[in-house]
Amino acid sequence: MNKISSHLDFYGQALRLRSRRNEVLASNIANAATPNFKARDLDFDTEIRRQIKQGPLQTTDQQHFPTNVAPGSEKMMYRDPINPSLDGNTVEMGVEQMEFSENVMRYQTTLQFLNGRITGLMSAIRGE
């Protein structure tokens, strides 16, 4: 069990982080017209590195699931706007849309890798 979960763990974590980032970017897009809203984002590279380094959380009972990091510990940062608008809003539609589509693409890529690993395991189990 442990071997299998560690085989898939990295992609699972990456997927979780990508989906968190999607939600943050969606919040930015939702607030595109709100005065004084500051667009936020998280740096995927730093976060994934930090979460891998931290390793699994300590478990105190046999029935606990070993998870790698407490959810929501990502460090959010404010976006540095290229053309700040007069109403204090730092959401730039073009920037957010590009970041969002890139993140979606990377989410799908990670999912594809994860699927590949699962398929590999399945064929090993079936002995094909």
């Binding site: 989906s19 897009i29 939702a30 607030n31 595109a32 017209a33 809203f37 929501g72 539609m93």
Partner: protein
Amino acid sequence: MAEIRNIFDVAGRSMAAQMVRLNTVASNLANAGAVSGNKENAFRALKPVFETKFADALKRTGLSTVDAVDVKETTREPERVYMPSHPDSDLEGYVFRAAVDENEEMVEMLEASRQYQNNIEVVSTMRSLMMRTINMGK
């Protein structure tokens, strides 16, 4: 207000806010050019007030959306026009035309509908991602 739990709450409420904005644009355009016999009764353009709503679990989820918390009248003054033949004109022959800038309203309408579309785009993308994730390993 209900708690913001997921992407559907975020986009849904943002779309509702943009809808309020589109409604005010429609009201303003409908009243553009309307005249009134006195300054107080003349129509003044309506504008929604947008406010960010953060999720209660913001630290954990990073979610925030937007609500149209109020609709206010603009401070622009109605234009005083000389129209002595108008039945509503005052003693000096003037009427007051609604304080609406049609060009501004058209720009507002385009921007609101673009942002509405953006929200729909986000939801449909996220939905297809979720479907793919559900079908993982098949």
